[in-house]
Subunit: 290 residues, 2 copies
């Protein structure tokens, strides 16, 4: 199976499982918004869970639940990021954002309930039979997404804006390690947790692709097509925000992303041929057009 | 020890433990806001955890962690409830709300990170040595606080406002069972979970005091002193919202609250003298002036 087919198959498997995890919430606007916010998207984090789990022969039918948890958590972060008081975005994945389609209160509650759902899914027996493994998944997700991880990155981001000076390369790297890196690392190591194996090679792989992902995002923000991306672009440049491109220059940034892909591939050496889809993903991350 | 002394002692124990759980988050405004939003308050939910745990001889030094988790989760819900797009409150516990003291983006992120922290605390080994017990606490908290629990209550509340017709008594009871009842029930049953005991008597107790608590809140909203309450009052009446008082009348509502206290006391019968503080709490809930 080639990479695009594999990714499409993961997307469809995750979408089916999400439907099941979201079916008990009735018919309020908040429940509708939760389903809306978790539909579509590239599902790269969920794909990482499925493919890292496959390295340890954890079947996709089991790993899909942890994949749903990270997609749900990621969706919460997007819904809150899009709010008027945050990035104030009207468009996401080519569709109106939750607060535009409904209202701000619904956006806040949809994000809140999606975060809760991520932990609820990880607590379910179908995620893993061993409670120690489920606790490990939940605790590491809390650490990755909270005030030492993703929210720390967001907090540093809004403080940088109000400080009125662009960040340095070190500061941006630290910020992004929290804002996008921590969830990507959780996703790649979740497979090892499900397989009760050593997480460190996947952690190295994820740190490299997480940074490459962000650099690629900064390049897309400059070179990309807003219609393909399904969201507003060139916002960072217009806001005068420091990015990897503004700090390194376009070509050196591109080179840095390719170097990181090579690092990521090296980290996968222990898994040999089995890790081909994770290698493909690393290359996809820096060559995608949306 | 009388009830007031016991409550004060629980408040101080919970405050100390919260300081420890919040110390690793650095010095961003979000971290400051997390500490600010979790300081003060009556700690009734945390007290319920400590006192229900004591029924099963779980020491307070252990139960305090689950108590911190529910206080953290409750604080998240208040910070988000106070946001301009939600209840738009400027004052909480007599102090400026988080979005007033900092800004809305900080308010959103503080609430988000406090929710995460609640699950993180429950995942820690010090909460309980047995991973099955920790998973039980986390999963039940997710259910109680998410789109089938607290957020469902909030979703029904905002939909009732836009529907433009006051709710019926059944509808308000259902709404409040989610909005405030579910976390109170989690708190009272957490002790039984920590003690690996049957949760059903405490669940009956909590359902009764949860409803009594909301009726008392509605009475306070009419009769209370805003200065003592540390927040704006008479907002429901001004907004024309249905409350237990508007639906039942003031004296019948008061009588219903006393009947619920009697129900709660009956539910505690299996625990005899050991449950005195929980009986005191039930009476305090309907007689408090703030």
């Amino acid at each position: 199976m080639d990479f695009k087919t594999q990714l499409a198959s993961a997307q469809s498997r995750i979408a089916d499982a999400l439907t099941q995890h979201l079916e008990n919430f009735g018919d309020t606007n908040v429940a509708k918004g939760m389903r809306y916010a978790t539909s579509g998207g590239k599902r790269l984090r969920g794909f990482l869970v499925l493919e890292s789990a496959a390295l340890f022969d954890v079947p996709a039918s089991q790993a899909v639940h942890a994949a749903c948890a990270i997609e749900t958590l990621h969706a919460y972060s997007l819904v809150h990021d899009d709010l008027p008081a945050m990035d104030d975005d009207d468009l996401r994945r080519g569709q109106p954002t939750v607060h535009v389609k409904w209202d701000e209160a619904t956006g806040i509650l949809v994000g809140d309930a999606l975060q809760t759902l991520a932990f609820e899914i990880l607590g379910k027996h179908e995620t893993h039979a061993d409670a120690e493994v489920r606790i490990g998944l939940m605790s590491s997700l809390a650490k990755a997404s909270g005030a030492e991880g993703m929210v720390l990155g967001q907090a540093l981001d809004i403080e940088a804006e109000s400080a009125g000076r662009p960040l340095s390369l070190d500061e941006i790297t630290h910020l992004q390690a929290g804002k996008t890196g921590a969830l990507i690392e959780w996703s790649a190591t979740a497979g090892a947790r499900l397989g009760q194996a050593d997480t460190s090679p996947l952690s190295r792989y994820a740190k490299a692709i997480g940074l490459a992902f962000q650099i690629a995002d900064d390049i897309l923000d400059i070179e990309g097509d807003a219609e393909k991306a399904g969201k507003a672009l060139r916002k960072d440049a217009e806001a005068g925000k420091a990015t990897f491109v503004s700090l390194l220059g376009l070509e050196p940034a591109r080179q840095r992303a390719f170097d990181l892909v090579a690092e990521a591939e090296t980290a996968l050496a222990p898994y040999g041929e089995k890790a081909q889809s994770l290698r493909d993903l690393a290359r996809y991350i820096v060559s995608r057009d949306a």
